[in-house]
């Protein structure tokens, strides 16, 4: 298995509390890592560090064996990050929202159109693609954000509480997508309080656990 993301002695402190202490995490292709811990234990902070949004840490990050600072562009091209806030504009339609995300990944015109429609179909928003997002329910808006997972090919998904506001059926689907993605060689790092019911080995990382 190819080594993707690696943290070396990663430490992170917020307001005098050490949230992540000497974390040595190796994420390989086909692995699912679940970050666990109570509220406020630094799960989101850790994911923001791993994605490169936060620079308030000590230690080193490596992507495919090279120092992150050198290969940041390559890393971003292969990363899909889904945070707490979804990045969905309420006054735009799901299609318009996703076309923008596709363009940021360098996809345009017909390729992008086709990809966006397949992605929307996959997350169950077929027929809603041209309705403004504020008319959709919270769960449906979350699904618009989830559709980003299927735009372009990334090697790593970083998902922060992906199951928020998703219905039972949707949770099952998302679990299936995650397992399917891992089986096809993708790596997933996620946080969730939900008991994962996935047909795939899960590596657990415990934060703030004493």
């Amino acid at each position: 298995m190819t080594l993707l993301l690696q943290t070396v002695d990663l430490c992170c402190e917020r307001d005098g509390r050490r949230l992540v202490d000497q974390l040595n995490l190796t994420v390989e292709e086909g692995q699912i890592h679940q970050i666990e811990g109570p509220n406020g234990s630094g799960k989101t902070s850790l994911l923001r560090i791993l994605s490169g949004l936060s620079s308030r840490y000590s230690g080193n990050l490596h992507w495919r064996g090279k120092a992150m600072s050198r290969v940041r562009a390559e890393y971003l091209a292969e990363l899909t990050y889904l945070g707490h806030s979804s990045g969905v504009k309420a006054v735009l339609t799901p299609r318009e929202n996703l076309m923008w995300h596709a363009a940021l990944r360098g996809l345009v015109d017909d390729t992008a159109q086709a990809l966006v429609m397949t992605a929307l179909d996959k997350v169950g928003l077929y027929g809603y693609e041209d309705a403004a997002c504020f008319t959709l329910s919270a769960g449906q808006q979350r699904r618009v954000a989830l559709a980003r997972l299927f735009l372009g090919q990334s090697a790593l998904w970083i998902l922060d509480e992906p199951f928020t506001a998703i219905d039972k059926h949707g949770v099952g689907e998302l679990e299936y997508w995650i397992a399917d993605y891992a089986k096809s060689g993708g790596a997933v790092v996620l946080t969730t309080h939900h008991e994962l019911n996935i047909d795939h080995a899960i590596q657990r990382v415990l934060l703030g656990g004493t």
Partner: protein, 229 residues
């Protein structure tokens, strides 16, 4: 895997998206314009309708009000993107952040500075600005407000992470607005007095060239700092 892609795609997409957003939320778009119109039309009532007096004050009034209109609207530049997480995704996208903030700033100018420029002849008439100054006013407004958008975006990028950045934003960017104000008024004044106004206009152009090339670096850095927590 497209690690390197044609650079313009993200720029065009972000520009188009921001214009579309403004079109869907038209009230936001009209705010600075209404401010510009109302405040300028208050001046003849405040200082008296004497055409001579107004004509002397007109260039200054119009520039100060345009400055404040730009200041008011610059706070919203990154606000909604920050709130809904789009800004994070812009930072994490493989497209260049420089081009994306450039696109956002250009969209901001198209939605504030450009309409202000279009409106300025009307206001010039209202404030009794001599007709010889109208063309100079429009040219100076077009070039000057673009610089104002860039300067405003620097402040907006730096303060977007703060809950109450309003006053701080004004403190950061108002001093930087001053050169634009001086040469903006200078251009119009020169035209009104019958001199060649290309000199001060060229200085405005130089300021814009400087802002358009260097400001996106500062804006991008500011946005990065704001999101980093």
């Amino acid at each position: 895997m497209a690690a390197y892609q044609p650079v313009g795609i993200g720029f065009v997409a972000t520009l188009r998206r921001d214009l579309l957003l403004a079109f869907r939320r038209r009230s936001d778009f009209f705010n600075p314009l209404a401010f510009f119109l109302i405040v300028c039309s208050l001046f003849p009532m405040g200082v008296g309708p004497d055409p001579k007096q107004l004509a002397i004050l007109a260039p200054g009034i119009m520039w100060v009000v345009a400055l404040l209109a730009c200041l008011l609207s610059s706070d919203t530049l990154f606000r909604s993107d920050f709130d809904d997480g789009s800004l994070e995704l812009m930072l994490l996208s493989p497209s260049s952040l420089y081009l994306q903030v450039l696109a956002k700033t250009l969209a901001h100018w198209l939605l504030t500075g450009f309409p202000l420029t279009i409106l300025s002849p009307l206001l010039a008439l209202l404030l009794q600005l001599p007709a010889s100054g109208t063309v100079a006013m429009m040219l100076a407004m077009a070039v000057g407000t673009a610089s104002l958008s860039f300067i405003g975006a620097i402040g907006a990028g730096l303060t977007v992470g703060l809950r109450k950045g309003g006053l701080l934003l004004s403190l950061i960017i108002l001093p930087l607005y001053v050169p634009v104000l001086i040469f903006g008024v200078g251009t119009v004044q020169a035209a009104v007095d019958g001199f060649n106004y290309l000199g001060p206009l060229a200085v405005l152009g130089a300021l814009l060239a400087l802002a358009a090339t260097l400001a996106p670096l500062a804006i991008a850095a500011g946005v990065r700092i704001s999101v980093d927590n």
